[in-house]
Subunit: 308 residues, 2 copies
C-alpha cells in the first residue's frame, strides 16, 4: 500500500508543483489503484511514473474546484484509448456527473469501459472484503469531502507449534483450517481456528482530506488513524487568511494530527509562494507540533506500513 | 510575429509531445498573443516559456476533440488568477460555449475579465486595422475548422530623397504627410503621399488548420500563403488509415503545400508512434515533395518573416 503524490500545489500549477492529485497504489491488495483528485495535467504526471491508467479502479474527487477536476476528462479518455477495459467508479460532489458527461459528450468521446459516477453525501460509500470507505464533510465554501479508508483486519497466521501440539501434520489441511472456524480431522478431532491462529493483522486507517478550514472536531473521527493527508495552503501565522479563503495553515493541520493521535501526517496543497528554504521552515513549524510530519512534493512516494 | 508550438502530439499526450496547442505571438504587432487549440496541460507548457497568459487576446479552437480543448478551462481560470484583466474571445465550433460555461460554473470559477465565446461557421470572423481572420471548414468526422489570418498591407516608408526633391525639410511634417493622402505645406504646396512613399509592406498570410482528411481543393484557398500549419498524424504510406480516421498523411500535407505554393509548411499533430529516427524519415519524405517543410516539436519557435 503506497501513496504516490502527483500534484501537491494549490490553485494554479507552478513549475515545482502541479495541481492536486494523488494515487493510492493497492496493487498487492487488489491489483488496482485509487486516484484522489485529478487536476489538469494528472495524466501527464502519470507518464513519468509506473502507474498504469488501466489499473485505475476508483477516482475520489474531494471537491469541484478546477485544480482538483480539470484533468479528469483527459485521464478517463486516455485510459480508454490506452486499452483500459475494466469499470471505473468516480465519487465526488453533486455536479460532477454533469461536468463529466458534458466533457465527454462534447468532445465525442466514447469510453470503451463502464464508467459509474456516484455523487456523494456524508456517510459510507462502499464496503467490500478489504475496505470500508466513507466520506466526511469538510468546510471549503462549496461541498468538500474527506475520504476515509478503513482496511479490514486480516486473519493472523496459523501457528505451526500449536497445530503440532494438537497432532495436525502440515499439508493442505492447513489451508482448510484457516478458511473456516471449525474443521474436523479424519480421526474425528475438531480443530477450532481460534485455538491455532495468531493475532489478527490490524487493518490500516487512512484519511485523505480535500481543501478545508481547520476543523478541530475531526480529531475524534480520525482518532488513531495510521495516515492523515491534509492540506497546508498557508503558513502557520496566516490563520486569518486561511479562514477567509476556506483553507488551513500548516500549524492547524499539525494540531489536528496531534489531537487525533494519528501515526503520520502528510501535507499537500502548498501555495507556490512557499519554495525551497521556506518549505523547510514550514516543515520545522509543523514538526514542533507533530513530529511525524512530511511535506509531500510532486512524485513523492510514501509506503503505508502495517502498524504492528 | 512568431509561432510557438506548445503541444505537437496527437490524441493522447506522450513524454515527447503534449496534446495540441500553439501560440501566435503578436507582441510587436498588437501587444497580444493568439492561442490555437488548448489541449490538457497547455498552461503547464506555458510555464516553461516566456508567454504571459495575461497577454492572450483570442483563442481559436479548431474542433472539440478532448486533445484540443481539455486545457481550456484551466488556462482561462489561471489567467484570471494571475491578474489577467483584458477581454478574451474564444472562437470554436458549436458546443464550445456549453463546455466552457459548465466547466467554469461547476468549479465555481468567476473570471475577473470579460470572456466572449463565439461559435463559428465558415466565413469571416473579424476584421480590424491589422488582420482579416476567416474560418474554413475541414473534414474530420465532426466540425473542424482551419483559421486563416490575412495581415493587411502596411504603408511603405517615406522616401527622404523624394521629399527633399519637393523641398520638404525633415520634421514633424513627415508624420503628417504619411498619415493622410494629401498635405498642404505652409507655402501652399500640395504633397501627395503616393508621390513620396515607397512600396507597401505586404501583409503575411497564415493558415493554421485543425485535424483533417486530405483536402486537395484547399490549394486554391491557400494559394501563395506564407505559412501553412497542417496536421501529419500518419506516415506517407498510411493513406487508408488516415482516411478512415479522418486524418492526413505527411505526404498529403506536403502535396497540399506544393499545390498551394505556400512559403513554408509546418507539420504538427504527430502520432506518438513516430519517434527519433522515424521523425527524421517522415521529414525526409515530406521534403521530397515540398522542400520547405519543418516538423514541429514541443517548444519549437518559428519566426514568420515578411515575404519581400
Ligand atoms: Zn484546491
Ligand atoms: Zn487531434
Amino acid at each position: 500500500m503506497e501513496l504516490f503524490f502527483l500534484g501537491t500545489g494549490s490553485g494554479v500549477p507552478s513549475k515545482e508543483r502541479n495541481v492536486s492529485s494523488l494515487v493510492l497504489c493497492l496493487l498487492e491488495e487488489r491489483g488496482t489503484t485509487w486516484v484522489f483528485d485529478c487536476g489538469e495535467g494528472t495524466q501527464q504526471q502519470i507518464l513519468n511514473t509506473n502507474i498504469r491508467p488501466r489499473r485505475i479502479e476508483v477516482v475520489f474527487i474531494t471537491h469541484l474546484h478546477g485544480d482538483h477536476i480539470y484533468g479528469l476528462p483527459g485521464l478517463l479518455s486516455s485510459r480508454s484509448f490506452q486499452g483500459g477495459e475494466t469499470p471505473v467508479t468516480v465519487y465526488g460532489p453533486r455536479g460532477l456527473k454533469e461536468y463529466i458527461d458534458i466533457s465527454l459528450r462534447i468532445s465525442g468521446t466514447h469510453l470503451r469501459y463502464p464508467l459509474h459516477v456516484e455523487e456523494v453525501e456524508e456517510g459510507e460509500l462502499f464496503e467490500d472484503e478489504q475496505f470500508v470507505v466513507e466520506a466526511i464533510k469538510l468546510e471549503h465554501g462549496l461541498d468538500s469531502y474527506g475520504y476515509i479508508l478503513k482496511e479490514k483486519d486480516k486473519l493472523g497466521e496459523l501457528q505451526p507449534d500449536k497445530l503440532k501440539e494438537l497432532g495436525v501434520k502440515p499439508g493442505p489441511i492447513y489451508q482448510k483450517i484457516k478458511s473456516q472456524s471449525r474443521t474436523q480431522l479424519e480421526d474425528g478431532t475438531i480443530i477450532r481456528r481460534d485455538d491455532v491462529i495468531g493475532p489478527p493483522k490490524k487493518g490500516r486507517k487512512i484519511a485523505i482530506l480535500g481543501d478545508t478550514r481547520y476543523l478541530p472536531p475531526l480529531a475524534e473521527v480520525l482518532q488513531d488513524f495510521d495516515v492523515l493527508v491534509h492540506e497546508a495552503t498557508f503558513a502557520g501565522d496566516e490563520e486569518e487568511m486561511a479562514h477567509d479563503y476556506y483553507h488551513s495553515t500548516i500549524k492547524q493541520a499539525a494540531m489536528l494530527a496531534k489531537e487525533a493521535n494519528v501515526g503520520e501526517l502528510i501535507l499537500n496543497h502548498l501555495s507556490s509562494r512557499y519554495q525551497g528554504d521556506a518549505v523547510q521552515q514550514l516543515s520545522d513549524e509543523a514538526r514542533t507540533i507533530f513530529p511525524n510530519t512530511t511535506i509531500a512534493f510532486d512524485f513523492y512516494q510514501h509506503t503505508i506500513k502495517r502498524n504492528q
